[in-house]
């Protein structure tokens, strides 16, 4: 089918949203992104969590972390900066107090995690992957908000490779590596972690940025720099998903960055993502994923695409220009 040929529209109910990510079935490609969903409970009063494709927890570290001083967030053009400082309850409290709630929801549960050094990453992967109800681990190697170490894990392919291999070896569940857009070559990073046994990659985490209050001559965040999220980063996220999908067509990708509508989600699928995560949009609209899911279903139906699976990676090149001829 050529990209321009009008396809016959379908009934929205006929569209199949189910996808497979690294061999695991999901009801829909839409997941809640890490750090934007906490551990889920708060959303139960606003929406039916069972209708999500899945969810990714706040990043968990071996020990609890208290996070950064205030102010931790500020709004920017079509986005926001955050430097929460990876505040979390730690592995033990997560497994005991948070996981039981998530396990009962009947949706894919991905547990995001990180360490402060090599050993704590591996320790975290070993323990979290044995949690009852954990479907996959999402390994955060970006860590823009922790100062000690961290940076090389997300930016140097050889280091990411070693770390991924060590975590995959001890993990009882597939590991999806969440890549940092702050790395020089995101394709090289994806390749390095794929070769180390990653089941897929999540692309992208926040992009490091800053904002200044000119009246007080102070940075708007206590840590000066923070991670940019929201629609402002979507074009960059799409480009990175597309580059990785082209270079590594068999590596499952979870696309993330500024998704606010069904059309945004479909862009990520067409660029080559298998699942799509929604983050910042959940703050203003806790039920955003339900709306986006419906919009995606309607849009696929309108475009005559019978399933979410059929949309993955179907991006077509623009037609070539006619060659220049002398008049």
């Amino acid at each position: 089918m050529s990209a321009r040929e009008p396809a016959l529209s379908l009934a929205p109910d006929a569209v199949d949203l189910a996808v497979d990510f690294a061999g695991q079935p999901l009801k829909s490609p839409l997941l809640a992104a890490s750090g934007c969903f906490a551990y889920g409970q708060q959303f139960a009063e606003f929406c039916d969590l069972g209708r999500l494709g899945g969810l990714v927890t706040k990043g968990i570290s071996p020990l609890p972390r208290h996070g950064n001083p205030a102010p931790r967030i500020c709004e920017t053009a079509a986005g926001m900066l955050n430097s929460i400082g990876l505040e979390n309850v730690g592995v033990d409290a997560f497994l005991a107090d948070k996981l039981p709630f998530l396990r009962g929801l009947g949706v894919a549960v991905w547990v995001n995690f990180f360490g402060t050094d090599f050993e704590t990453y591996v320790d975290c992967a070993r323990r979290l992957s044995r949690g009852d109800g954990v479907d996959a681990l999402e390994m955060n190697i970006s860590c823009p908000n922790i100062t000690k170490g961290g940076i090389e894990f997300g930016t140097v392919p050889e280091v990411a490779h070693r770390l991924t291999r060590a975590c995959v070896e001890v993990s009882a569940r597939p590991i999806v590596v969440k890549l940092s857009p702050n790395a020089g070559d995101v394709v090289a990073m994806a390749q390095a972690v794929a070769e180390a046994g990653a089941a897929g990659v999540s692309v992208i985490n926040t992009i490091t940025g800053m904002a200044i209050d000119v009246r007080s001559r102070r940075p708007r965040l206590a840590t000066t720099y923070g991670g940019l999220s929201g629609p402002a980063i979507k074009p960059i996220a799409l480009r990175m998903v597309h580059q990785i999908a082209r270079a590594l067509p068999h590596l499952p990708i979870s696309g993330i960055g500024g998704v606010m509508s069904g059309e945004d989600a479909l862009e990520f699928l067409m660029a080559g993502a298998t699942t799509v995560q929604v983050g910042t949009a959940l703050f203003a609209e806790p039920g955003a994923i339900h709306r986006i899911t419906q919009e995606l279903r309607d849009l696929l139906a309108e475009l005559g695409i019978p399933s979410a699976r059929a949309a993955i990676g179907v991006l077509q090149p623009l037609p070539a220009e006619a060659p220049i001829r002398p008049r």
Partner: protein
């Protein structure tokens, strides 16, 4: 209290001068905001597309019915400017009621409600609720602003029958200077009369810091309603950290507050 996310339509939007406005929103059905207590807040966002991404926090001013509630806004930046310009019928997404409210007045203790500028709404509501419960003598409103036009909704406050103490920095109404002047005088009288008092305060951070100092120095219980930048308002982004004493260095303004015990807040 359970919260809801819903769409409401602008039922009225009244400019009060000085950038203040009272925005009344009405939902098609009953919502839990109808049961909001003083200090509860809502997150509001108009139909702003991909711009001004996060909703804005506002204390509930009044909830006259289970479908309708009002906020008192003051134009600060782009979000409040857009809310202040809403026309009747225009829609707003609402999440609420959120946070932990002020403690209710109790017989035998006088609550001194200390409001600075746009910190008025939760205390105005506290006075309204107290008056409705026949406790108008158990609360007094101390209200300060820059000048006369910063003191709004005074007629309503007078109708509650609660005692009012006013202060303006330019002296155009009431005591000339900060509201802490009348507060100290009132506390001296309370001490002489061995009257039991507690402080409830909402307003600019320097005012809250001054009230906190006074409360700690004189060993008077005080509840402070704080503001922090918020993305979600319901405890998931962890953006609204407030430094506190105790086992954890930070609490969250949106779920642990916005009302905090003055002794708990870890300020210099």
């Amino acid at each position: 209290m359970p919260a809801a996310h819903f769409t409401a339509a602008t039922a009225a939007n009244r400019a009060l001068g000085g950038g203040y406005f009272v925005l009344e929103l009405e939902a098609a059905e009953d919502t839990p905001v109808g049961a909001a207590q003083p200090g509860h807040f809502v997150m509001l966002r108009g139909e702003w597309g991909r711009d001004l991404l996060n909703p804005r926090a506002f204390s509930v001013l009044a909830a006259p019915s289970a479908r309708r509630f009002a906020i008192l806004g003051k134009i600060h930046g782009r979000g409040t400017a857009r809310l202040g310009a809403l026309r009747v019928g225009e829609r707003v997404a609402v999440t609420g009621p959120l946070g932990r409210p002020f403690l209710s007045p109790r017989p035998g203790t006088t609550q001194l409600l200390i409001a600075g500028g746009v910190g008025l709404p939760p205390l105005h509501m506290q006075a309204r609720v107290a008056a409705a419960a026949g406790l108008h003598t158990a609360v007094e409103l101390l209200y300060g602003g820059r000048s006369a036009q910063d003191l709004v909704l005074l007629d309503q406050a007078r109708d509650f029958g609660v005692r009012l103490h006013l202060a303006t920095e330019d002296g155009s109404v009431g005591h000339r200077g900060f509201i802490t002047g009348p507060l100290l005088a009132r506390l001296d009288r309370a001490r002489e009369a061995a009257e039991s008092v507690e402080l409830l305060a909402c307003g600019p951070t320097p005012m809250l810091a001054a009230v906190r100092r006074i409360a700690l120095d004189r060993d008077i219980p005080a509840q402070l309603c704080l503001e922090e930048n918020m993305a979600c308002g319901f405890g998931v982004c962890l953006g609204c950290a407030v430094p506190v004493h105790g086992p954890r260095p930070y609490a969250y303004c949106c779920t642990d507050g916005p009302v905090f015990d003055a002794r708990e807040v870890r300020w210099p």
